[in-house]
Amino acid sequence: MDAFPSRWGKPRNENIDEHNTVPLHKTLPDNLTQTAYGPVTRTQQPLVTGTSVIALKYRDGIMMAADMLGSYGSLARFRDIERLMPVGDYTVVGASGDISDQQYIQHVLESLMVKEHCHDDGHVLGTPHIFEYLWRMMYNRRSKFNPLWNALVVGGVHKGDKFLGYVDLRGTTYKATTIATGFGAHLAQPILRKRVEGREDDLTEEEAIDIINDCMRVLFYRDARSMNKFQRATITAAGVNVTEPYGVDTNWGFAEKIRGYGA
């Protein structure tokens, strides 16, 4: 297989180079535009990935959850990845998709908060500002054909208002009462919408925890790249709280009835 698309369709000298081990003799001068040299070939696939992130608005603020698995394809490789990143005192960014890109985003956001802190003028970046910044960054990378392969959920409380938004690798954004990425968008979103929409100012913390746990249970049952160990983040006017990892009860009794499964 020829890994260099710029060589496709061009004749090669089989006497010298039977297996394309040496790049072709230079046929183009140096001073041309980027596109004239042929397509750019960067790695365009995520490697270690995180699965769904789900989030909802409730009476006191925002609640978000994500499991702690970093999958290497179908291998459940890293089982302690924290995918919910607190930024400042009133915002949490949950990331699904490529973990190394998530770590890069974490680094960028941390540097940003430090720089703002050093201005020392009483101004702090709030959730809507962080959201806008992430959007601009993701869209800019997409426009250069070098995306950060993530879908991000940005949640927080800013000046008394609850904020919940979504940004992804293409720079698509939206804000809603309930947000879910990846498999969560298919499996958890219907549950979230049914139980939350319209009631975001009445939902108590206990009810919200119940909804989150139900969604994470469904995701563990049905998403083959998930794990029953996750964290839950709560953001209120008092600040951010990320729980210790925990799991939900599951019932696999039905397996007994199926030939080949069960004990």
Partner: protein, 281 residues
């Protein structure tokens, strides 16, 4: 200040520890017509005296809007002011685009000050010849800053720059304690009284030569000129000129003043808002 051998370029110190070129640049600001800024706990206001080079000419614009929450008053070389205000507008827009947030006033003023400082240290450059009064309203409340060609920027409750601004400063220093809790009208009235003190003999504030800029808690920065000014000038009553006279003398004095002001404008020496290359002194 007199010419000496240490004032040829900005990268030469004098033995007294002064950089004369920077001081000369500050002099250029004093040639411009007066601009005044003052603030209360909720509003920040700019007032300026516009100058025209003759009866046929328009009045030079002194206030520039930078963003919905910020504006500046200029004194000195208008071309330098244009360059700085364009830069400020770009920075303000950048903040809105990157963070969806109006730029904090202190930051943009510090950036301008740093920009001005470069011109006081690099060989071959000249300092900006314009002083700015910047007002803005951000999350930390209303602010007023002064930026000068020397690269300094300070925050003030009230400040004035330009020709005869010392008289305005005297008024502001006497009255600044009343500004914090003043209403918007009271604040503007104080500003107009201070501006009036910078007038030359027999000149008066009118809707043509005055300019007011206001920004506040629920009020975007906007500039008031022309007919809209009348209601603010009315706050001064009859006393729109510097010399206070009784009402009977006034009408006689006014007609004399009208004649002499026509002659005066041709012999006005201060041409600070036009580039100093003008030769009609």
């Amino acid at each position: 200040m007199f010419r000496n051998q240490y004032d040829n370029d900005v990268s030469t110190w004098s033995p007294q520890g002064r950089i004369h070129q920077v001081e000369y640049a500050v002099e250029a600001v004093k040639q411009g017509s007066a601009a005044i800024g003052l603030r209360s706990n909720e509003y920040a206001v700019l007032l300026a005296l516009k100058r025209s080079s003759g009866e046929l000419a328009s009045y030079q614009k002194k206030l520039i809007k930078i963003d919905e929450h910020m504006g500046i008053a200029i004194a000195g070389l208008t071309s330098d002011a244009r360059v700085l205000s364009n830069f400020m507008r770009t920075e303000a827009m950048r903040s809105k685009m990157l963070y969806d947030r109006p730029i904090p006033v202190q930051r943009i003023v510090s950036t301008i000050a740093d920009k001005a400082q470069v011109n006081t240290q690099q060989y071959g450059r000249r300092p900006y010849g314009v002083g700015l009064l910047v007002v803005g309203y951000d999350e930390t409340g209303p602010h007023l800053y002064e930026s000068s060609p020397s690269g300094t920027c300070f925050e003030y409750f009230a400040m004035s720059i330009g020709a005869r601004s010392q008289s305005a400063k005297t008024y502001l220093e006497k009255n600044y304690e009343q500004f914090a809790n003043a209403s918007l009208d009271e604040l503007v009235r104080h500003g107009l009284l201070a501006l009036r003190d910078t007038l030359q003999q027999d000149k008066e504030l009118n809707i043509h030569n005055t300019s007011i800029g206001i920004v506040g808690k629920n009020e975007d920065f906007h500039i008031i000129e022309g007919d809209g000014l009348q209601k603010y000038l009315d706050l001064l009553g009859d006393e729109t000129s510097r010399t206070r006279r009784g009402p009977e003398e006034r009408s006689a004095a006014e007609s004399i003043a009208a004649e002499s002001s026509r002659e005066d404008s041709n012999t006005e020496v201060d041409h600070g808002d036009v580039a100093p290359m003008d030769t009609d002194n």
